[in-house]
Amino acid sequence: MKDFFIELSRDIRKNKGAFAGFLLISFFISLALFAPLLSSYQPDQVIDGALRLSPGAEYGGHYFLFGTDDIGRDLFTRILFGARVSLMVGLSVVVLAASLGTFLGLMAGYFGGWTDRVISRMMDFIMALPAVLFAIVIVAVLGPGLVNSVVAVSIVALPNFTRLIRAQVLAEKNKQYVQAARLYGAGHFRILFKEILPNCMAPLIVQGSLGFSDGVLNCAALGFLGLGAQAPTPEWGTMLSDARSFLESSPWMVNLPGICILLVVLSFNLLGDGLRDALDPRLKNRA
């Protein structure tokens, strides 16, 4: 396992795209971690009279790097705290979808038969509806809100992980090392988690990275539609949606969160793409 991560970090450094993505991600993570240190305001702190000031404006002894919004909150602060929200959202989606998806995929692939049929059919149903529409339906049932949108987006992301792991298990199941483990009397649990799962790590990490970007993007879209995080949460999609009416007069209120969503999504896609090139042995040896 340790060797795997050493090789992984070497692969990231070798692939320019993955490395750029990795740097951007690190940048956003540090912004999110040090948000309270980097800004002198609270995300929902209203500075009286500082309405929709453009980036770099000064007002009453205050300096606003990214300007202010329509009720006088510092946008830089809100963007920083928004990074926390977005990264937490992405992380939660990946953790939820990957853990449940891995479990279901292992079961479906290893036991086959009815277990497989039921799980695969369920995933087909989820896949039949486009991601955001399905998420909308779930949010319509559960009610709007950040947590509910995370749950919805995780369910939408579930089939990707389940199918990936299932396919991987099917490929690994009959290999000699698994047969050998079985001969030595290893139980199902041991074979699944000690023998097969470690060999699914590479595609899982790739899918994790790509799933992260999907999660961030879908949650932001739900926020934009008014179905995700609710004001005053500094969530980028919600901020963008609230700023729409000021598009002409104060475009930065729309553009700053928009650019941030794009950059976070792009960086995880870069990383995921680069890792796929590095880890997928089929692509690895291709000229």
Partner: protein, 343 residues
């Protein structure tokens, strides 16, 4: 062949039943009283409540509720909208052409640009051009299109004044609806006699920005797919044979490689239908485009549950059917599979 067809039909039917069941459950899973949700009233006197409950069949056991719901769905009865009191099916029919028009134009836009870009990137592999195209398409792929739409509006509509901000056509024109596709309806003889080609151009202008916004992600996805599919095919032996025969390079690429690279590209195009529907929800919200995306979002904000239930069901059915159609195209394109099935 017959076995395959039967299996496929069974699969599709099973999926459709599943979707119907999920939509049926939808209303029952929402916290709150389903009778009140479906009627859209907060308080109802007990007699009216009982009436409504009986009318909706909610007093029966759940299995027979589902049976009668499925029966209604098959006959095309998807319920009545709370807000407009019109039937969900008629509302859907009203909104659907706008989405279809936008989606088709967006997909054409995506195909028209993505395939040439993808081929060029593959042929010029590892050059600056390749890196530039692939960098751009990864950015497009990562684009939050709800922001992208606003950026385009800001630039083209607000700054340059080239395109309108929202809607399908300028308000001054009242186009009689025939097909529901404005690009066609505005060209009917009566409209042309009355207004000339101005309504058509108005419709085109209104369509451009939504088309770009909705087409961006499919464009990016397909450009990437085209590139990788071509790279794989260009390394095949038969491409070398085609060159060895002295065929011009354009023919080698556009006939010999293209035919074989097409299969994954078409599959990707099919997967884009889902993306386009998702995108339509966002795009229509941004551009106030009166299609099913906006219809569904509005019904969610107004908690119009019969409309949500019916709308989601129809969209899901459409997607399942398109995917099936694509499977058939896939078979048609791949003679190896076609032959195996015909035997």
């Amino acid at each position: 062949m017959l076995l395959f067809a039967l299996k496929k039909i069974m699969e599709v039917l099973l999926t459709l039943v599943g979707i119907t069941f999920v939509c049926f459950l939808l209303i029952r899973l929402v916290p709150g009283d389903p009778v009140l949700l479906m009627i859209g009233e907060r308080n109802l006197d007990p007699i009216a409540y009982a009436e409504a409950k009986a009318k909706l069949g909610l007093d029966k056991p759940i299995a027979s509720q589902f049976a009668s719901y499925a029966g209604q769905v098959i006959t095309g009865d998807l319920g009545t909208s709370i807000t407009s009191k019109a039937s969900v099916w008629s509302e859907f029919k009203e909104h659907f052409p706008a989405t279809v028009e936008l989606s088709i134009v967006a997909l054409i836009f995506a195909v028209l640009f993505s395939i040439p870009f993808g081929i060029l990137a593959a042929v010029k592999k590892n050059t600056f051009f390749d890196y530039f195209l692939m960098g751009t398409s990864l950015t497009g792929y990562s684009m939050p299109i709800f922001w992208w739409g606003l950026v385009l509006i800001l630039f083209f509509s607000v700054k340059l004044g080239w395109t309108p901000v929202s809607g399908r056509i300028a308000l001054e024109y009242d186009i009689p609806v025939k097909t529901g596709f404005y690009l066609m309806d505005t060209l009917s003889s009566e409209v042309r006699e009355a207004e000339g080609y101005r309504p058509f151009w108005s419709a085109v202008q209104h369509l451009i920005l939504p088309m770009i916004v909705l087409g961006t992600i499919p464009l990016a996805v397909m450009a990437r797919m085209t590139r990788s599919s071509f790279l794989e095919v260009l390394g095949e032996d038969f491409v070398r044979t085609a060159r060895a025969k002295g065929l011009p390079e354009t023919r080698v690429i556009l006939v010999h490689a293209f035919r074989n690279a097409l299969i994954p590209i078409v599959t990707t195009l099919a997967l884009c239908f889902g993306t386009v529907i998702t995108g339509a929800i966002l795009t229509e919200t941004i551009f106030s485009w009166p299609g099913i995306g906006k219809w569904i979002v509005t019904s969610i904000t107004s908690r119009d549950y019969p409309t949500i239930q019916g709308g989601v069901l129809i969209i899901a059915v459409i997607i399942v059917l398109t995917n099936t159609l694509v499977d058939l195209i896939y078979i048609y394109l791949n003679p190896r599979i076609k032959n195996a099935l015909l035997k």
